[in-house]
Subunit: 227 residues, 2 copies
């Protein structure tokens, strides 16, 4: 019996793609949104493609109480507001997986540029804002939302995972690794999120030039990554 996986911002492109892939992998998913109705609609769209999927919709703070590992998939512009709204919902022992990227697009700049975040990275801002005892893990910055949302497109790429708790990272990797074609790779401490978040605008630049949805893979890694 695996626990449900809440996705705060699950109606957005990345969150919805993730919901779809996790549901396809047999995990129970709770799609969160500011609006319960929109969350339910998104859940229904998952069930259309995957009739046997166990997918619910709920308001973000409700969704966040429904499982131990909560994914946060919102634009940087909305990250701080969402974390404020989650303050009463998240509790000690939970893991928050932050997929936020501080693209300059958040302030009407280019999506190929990154903002400087006072804490160092969006993930570190998240760690500053979550209730005591909640562990932030940074992940999912290089997986294309467009590719995730097309279930018939085979994935074959890495997901860099950064965080200060090895056990928390391992648990997040276990969830991400359930999606066929995604290989979670421990990239280091939470502060490394600053470097990982830079990959998104870099891939956006590559995508514009080469008209694609690129992902990344690391070469030279050992076979056993999470022993």
């Amino acid at each position: 019996m695996s626990e449900p996986i809440p996705i705060v911002g699950g109606t957005g492109a990345l969150g919805f793609g993730l919901a779809l892939r996790l549901a396809a992998a047999g995990r129970e998913v709770v799609i969160g949104s500011r609006d319960a109705g929109r969350a339910e609609e998104a859940a229904a769209r998952v069930r259309e493609q995957l009739p046997n999927a166990s997918v619910d919709g709920a308001e973000n703070p409700d969704a966040a109480t429904r499982g131990p590992i909560v994914f946060l998939a919102v634009p940087f512009r909305a990250q701080s507001e969402n974390l404020t709204n989650l303050k009463g919902a998240l509790t000690e022992g939970q893991i928050l997986v932050d997929a936020t990227v501080p693209l300059a697009a958040a302030v009407s700049g280019k999506a190929t540029r990154i903002l400087g975040v006072p804490q160092g990275s969006a993930a570190q801002q998240a760690q500053e804002m979550v209730p005591e005892g909640v562990t932030v893990v940074s992940a999912l910055h290089t997986v294309s939302a467009a590719t995730l949302s097309k279930l018939d497109t085979e994935l074959d790429e890495d997901v860099l995972v950064a965080g200060d708790g090895k056990d928390a990272k391992r648990r997040v990797a276990e969830v991400i690794g359930r999606v066929p074609g995604l290989r979670p790779v421990d990239a280091g401490r939470l502060e490394v999120a600053r470097l990982v978040e830079s990959l998104t605008p870099l891939l956006i630049s590559v995508n514009i030039l080469h008209k694609t949805h690129a992902g990344i893979k690391l070469t030279g890694l050992p076979d056993e990554l999470w022993k």
Copy 2:
């Protein structure tokens, strides 16, 4: 008849590895160093491994006059000083390939952290410092010096190339692509170097955790990259 390839800082780990691989690929190489004697020693070490190689050693500014595409492979700490010394040597029409990474190690910090560079990146600092008419292209930040230096280790990874001149990038890609196992990929404008330079401390973090020399590959790219 291909032109010689000068490598400023060619006695350092990355520069020497690059000299070795380019020489093995049949290119004529000029290893530059602050000291002509050390440059000659390094050239002799290349010839030991590759008796037919055409490799010379010279003081950095001398080396930089010997071919149209000059590689700069020096630590960030020494980048500015080297560029000052090259001011009388580089001339209009040359391309300077900057492989510098502003690791915090330059100021006795960690190699898993990146410094903020006023111009945005080491490559942009280089563009500001080269003589008028010299084009800076940023490349080679993710290729392990250790791996390059072992000729019997097969390479299989990408090299992200950033710059403002498409033709200059194409010419650099042509040189890098001569090394078997390296695929040059256009990553965008020179300002994207800021994002690419972040890959080095990220890979250093991965290398420490997984005891390896990781490289990167992009997924989802078209077959024809430099048409």
